[in-house]
């Protein structure tokens, strides 16, 4: 399929997502947007702002307050010809839907030998850094990434937010779409388009560098880039890989980047134990072993419940923690 970039606009991430939904609703009458407060209110982050007014109650609507119900309803809609895009209001409020996600959304295609496909998207505002109270700042990607049958993506900027969401809606497979809450208000240039390109599954090198590779995704990408900028002032050249897609995983780009530098630090907000960061470190260790001059380091959230606002700065991977990890990469051997 071809992509026709129609125009460029400067948008915040939330606006880019809104635009992606609007363009998808306009292009494909089977696209439906629903969830809690996504109708007249336009979503608590205003990602669905104006959609009910523009496309009517049948296309963008509020549901009863029940996440398993929302996810199960989406399964049925998708079974019967629709492309549902459901919103979970916050990361932790997707957990009631977990059974539906793991036992049905992830398994339906496989169960039916490809006869029933579920082209649905579950949008999840995720991660912290916004001073949110308990249950409003979880990084839940490991739960989804560990579950075979789901695609899991996380944009790190408005342009990717737009294009990945278009791709996710166009995908014949269920996509868990993680929206970094703290980037909702960040602005950037967005290439709008019609049609789609095969976007899910490709990582991108955001910044070239020669000394070590930072591997990040979603909300951690801007921090990694900032760390690379600071390091550059100190004469250390850090490369930054933005995964964009956690599943599928772009081994080629990641391994290429790590092999070119011989050192790697994985950066992610989620608690580190048995996480996506673990996976990245394990893969890089397995695949790039002989290129590595130092162990792969992980800078992640600690293995604690997400802290209250007054303490969250300590949980989030910071420029300092990233640079500390880089410093640890046994440079004496270099």
């Amino acid at each position: 399929m071809t992509t026709i970039a129609v125009e460029h606009e400067t948008l915040s991430t939330a606006q880019a997502l809104n635009r992606a939904l609007r363009d998808a609703l306009a292009e494909d009458p089977t696209v439906l947007v629903f969830g809690e407060d996504v109708g007249p209110l336009g979503g608590v982050f205003r990602v669905t702002d104006g959609l009910t007014a523009e496309f009517g109650e049948d296309r963008c609507f509020d549901t009863p307050l029940a996440e398993a119900g929302i996810a199960g309803f989406a399964v049925g809609l998708a079974m019967n010809g629709m492309r549902p895009v459901m919103e979970m209001q916050f990361d932790a409020f997707a957990y009631p839907a977990f059974e539906q996600v793991v036992s049905h959304i992830a398994k339906m295609r496989n169960r039916t030998r490809g006869r029933v496909e579920l082209p649905l998207v579950m949008r999840v505002p995720y991660a912290g850094g916004i001073g949110g109270v308990e249950h409003h700042c979880d990084s839940s990607e490991a739960y989804f990434a560990h579950t075979p049958g789901l695609h899991v993506v996380a944009p790190s900027n408005p342009a990717d937010a737009y294009s990945l969401l278009r791709d996710a809606i166009a995908s014949p497979d269920p996509v868990v779409f993680l929206e970094p809450k703290k980037l909702y208000w960040a602005k950037g240039d967005v290439a709008l388009r019609s049609g789609r390109e095969p976007g899910i599954g490709t990582a991108v090198v955001r910044r070239q560098g020669t000394d070590a590779t930072l591997i990040a995704y979603g909300s951690s990408v801007p921090v990694a880039i900032e760390a690379a900028e600071v390091a550059a002032r100190d004469g250390r050249s850090l490369q930054v890989v933005d995964l964009r897609s956690l599943v599928p995983f772009d081994d080629a780009t990641v391994c290429g980047a790590v092999e070119s530098t011989g050192r790697a630090v994985v950066v992610a907000e989620a608690a580190g134990f048995a996480s996506v960061a673990s996976e990245i470190a394990a893969r890089v260790g397995e695949r790039c072993f002989h290129s590595l001059s130092a162990p792969v380091r992980r800078v992640t959230g600690f293995d604690i419940p997400y802290p209250p606002p007054k303490l969250e700065h300590l949980q989030l991977p910071s420029v300092d923690r990233i640079l500390d990890a880089v410093d640890d990469l046994q440079w004496e051997d270099a």
Binding site: G76, M79, N110, R113
Partner: protein, 349 residues
Amino acid sequence: MLLDPDGRPTAAGKGSLPDAEALLRGLAGMIAARRFNEQAGVLVRQGRLAVYPSSYGQEACQVAAAQVLADGDWLFPTYRDTAAAVARGVDPVEVLGLLKGDWHSGYDPYERNVAPLTTPLATQLPHAVGVAHAARLRGTRTVVLAMCGDGATSEGDFHEALNFAAVFRAPVVFFVQNNQYAISVPLARQSAAPSLAHKGVGYGIPGEHVDGNDLAALLDVLSRAVDRARTGAGPQLVEGRTYRIQAHTNADDATRYRSDDEVTEWAAKDPIARLETYLRAEGILDDTRAAAFAGAAEEVAHRTRDGINRDVEPNPDDLFRFVYAEPTPQLVEQLAMVRDELSREEGHR
């Protein structure tokens, strides 16, 4: 109840029985379903099926659920409802695919609009609502009949599904087969409500209970619910009161939690005998026809036996083929690993 356990029309039954043709179809269906249940039991004992949750004794519910639907309608069975899927026209061998261990769903759900049989209880009910709502949005007059057991009514998904259906006025009939047990747990430990049909009240959904061993009554109540849903009047809840005559599955030991007397008492309310008595008394059924029904049932059993006894070599590639529309690079690698392993094993032989 329209027919009492002895096959006599009740006061309510007089005058409002479904027509003879429908009752004959139902009887034929039940006889086939009973034979199917028996055959599957034999296949389990022969080790051809891993496990079989039997609907023996519940054949009226199984058959009525299929019979009241039109062609384009959808049936959402629960894991025990293999006989209902067969009654709806799904290939009996394919229906048993899950329980034979060949694949998770053996049949194409779109062929007869029968959702896959899966085990997580009540989880299919929200799907049914979604299918029904999509049908409405698409302007078709499809109705969805969604089945579950008494135990499944305790799950959150039951609640959320009924509530969504009510709020969206989705054309769904929820049909609870109350067979008195969830494995070993009796109804009284499941619910303190006067009836499971009362559960409709909290959603603004009409609830009705019906003798689940009385095919005539089931056809009557379920058809009206389906018709009502089709006209856009919204969902309905029907509780069919029946009994699981056999153990939960072959792996279960029902003597641990219920008495023989109880089983005997329910066996006397058998749905097939009851209808057959009535139809014979009315002269609607004669020996020739009865023999034809038995023959047709034997045919289904035969096909089932044959199909299940025919082993298809499982294809390892299938592990990776259907996870996504396109396999991820990771799956491509993993498939290569499996093929490599198998080819080396092959070499060893």
